[in-house]
């Protein structure tokens, strides 16, 4: 296998030309998100360059504190992003979402790194990139799950009130909404699993192959990561909604939706 070709700044800058296509289509279709495209592109570039510099330093000077700090920062940011996208939920629900996301993410990362790969959790070369993928996908899943849950509850307020009046326990009323939200959160991962290897070669595997790893090794890692992503999404969304939905009613089973 050949080593990866390093991109120089000139070569790298060419990729930004593709954004002009996006910009053109957006203008043509009157999609009023030009500002978001520019901000998102700049933020992505700056954030990834900074992450690259930090990772270079950490990999050259490995220390458990750096690894822990990096994971904490990543988790904290993921929680912040989820809560930013779901501002209307109550304070206790927010705490539960944060704890669910952090504990599910860290538990799955620990299992992956320590049990499956069999290296120390403080090894930044494995822990940082793998937690990035796992926590990042948990963020997407929980956001989607929460959004679905909240929207459905708002849309079915009349059904909820009727069932409450009839003497149905709130948990029983909310369970179908939580189940639906978990399904919605899981579907993108499950669908992408269906097409994997045929219509898509996932990012991690592509990266490993580009950097010279044997495809079979890259594939094993990729399979492990996808299963971990599926598990973390399921666990984080389930915990968020199972425990979070309990904050929507009080000890007298009175609901506040």
């Amino acid at each position: 296998m050949n080593d990866i070709i390093s991109l120089n700044i000139g070569q790298f800058a060419l990729i930004y030309l593709l954004l002009l296509i996006v910009l053109f289509v957006m203008k043509k279709c009157k999609i009023n998100q030009t500002k978001l495209l520019v901000v998102a592109s700049i933020r992505m570039t700056v954030q990834l360059v900074l992450a690259g510099l930090v990772l270079t330093y950490i990999l050259q000077n490995p220390h458990p504190v750096f690894t822990i700090l990096y994971i904490m920062l990543m988790t904290g940011f993921a929680i912040y992003m989820v809560l930013q996208r779901n501002k209307t939920i109550n304070k206790r629900f927010k705490i539960i979402v944060g704890v669910s996301l952090a504990s599910s993410g860290i538990a799955i990362v620990c299992f992956f790194i320590m049990v499956v790969v069999g290296v120390s959790i403080f090894n930044p070369q494995y822990t940082i990139p793998i937690s990035g993928m796992i926590i990042g996908n948990a963020l997407t899943g929980v956001s989607l799950g929460l959004k679905t849950f909240n929207e459905n509850i708002k849309a079915h307020k009349m059904r909820i009130n009727t069932l409450v009046n009839m003497g149905v326990a709130p948990q029983k009323i909310l369970t179908p909404f939580a189940n639906q939200a978990i399904e919605t959160a899981l579907l993108p991962t499950l669908n992408s699993m269906l097409g994997m290897g045929i219509i898509s070669l996932p990012g991690m595997m592509t990266g490993q192959i580009l950097s010279g790893t044997m495809p079979m090794t890259a594939i094993l890692y990729q399979i492990a990561v996808i299963i971990a992503i599926c598990a973390v999404t399921c666990l984080a969304v389930f915990c968020s909604l199972f425990f979070g939905s309990r904050t929507l009613y009080n000890a007298r089973n009175q609901m506040s939706v």
């Binding site: 009349m158 059904r159 009130n161 009727t162 069932l163 409450v164 009046n165 009839m166 003497g167 149905v168 326990a169 029983k172 009323i173 007298r252 089973n253 009175q254």
Partner: protein
């Protein structure tokens, strides 16, 4: 002993209720202008909401001391808005029974409750194809079939014409009387109230949108 007694009840400092007594085994109608707290009163009585101050007693015991789910099944509230699943009438009966963790009732029993509510439709009729009035009556029939100790209905005739409204109220009152069910009805329809009420509570006063505290008063007839 009265079924319900209210003393100095206040909800969110917006609605102050007068002291009220509701007797058992007769039909009580609650009347009053919009915003005086009629619907809120029904919600307070079945514990869907709690009062900010004051005391509500049910069968001589503070309502807060009752297990809330059992209380709601005992004191059933048929809300102002009708909700039926996009399924057949029979499926709606089954669905609501399943939600309450109860075995479904027989089709014959369903038909008899529909008959009380003047619904002459096959059990296989899809509820989303029914008129507003038919949906309201199907919904009341389902609630009636639970045979609670107290049946509270909030504007049960709002979607019905005079003829259907009169038939519905006559049959329900008769069913409740025969089965020892106390009926509490919120209605803006004075004619219906005068005809079918054994007891009328007129709430006076109005809680304005700004949340001003205005005292209500009860008038017993």
């Amino acid at each position: 002993m009265p079924l319900f007694t209210l003393k100095n009840v206040n909800f969110n400092n917006i609605i102050k209720f007068p002291d009220i007594e509701i007797p058992e085994n007769i039909s009580t109608f609650i009347c009053g202008e919009s915003g005086c707290g009629k619907s809120t009163l029904l919600k307070l009585l079945n514990g869907v909401i709690s009062s900010t101050d004051g005391e509500i007693n049910y069968l001589g015991k503070n309502i807060e001391d009752f297990e809330p789910i059992s209380l709601r099944r005992d004191v059933l509230l048929v809300g102002q808005t009708t909700y039926l699943f996009d399924k057949t009438i029979k499926d709606n009966f089954d669905e609501y029974y399943a939600y309450r963790g109860q075995s479904p009732i027989s089709e014959k029993a369903m038909e008899s409750f529909l008959d009380i509510c003047s619904v002459n439709l096959p059990l296989g009729s899809l509820c989303n194809t029914l008129s507003g009035g038919e949906q309201q009556r199907v919904f009341i029939a389902i609630n009636l079939s639970f045979q609670p100790r107290v049946l509270m209905m909030d504007e049960p005739t709002s979607a019905l014409d005079d003829k259907n409204a009169a038939a519905l109220m006559k049959n329900i009152k008769s069913f409740c009387k025969d089965n020892g069910i106390t009926l509490i009805v919120v209605s803006h329809d004075k004619a219906i109230a005068d005809k079918y009420a054994d007891n009328i509570i007129s709430l006076q006063g109005r809680a304005e949108g700004g949340g001003e505290v205005l005292a209500g008063g009860a008038k017993y007839e």
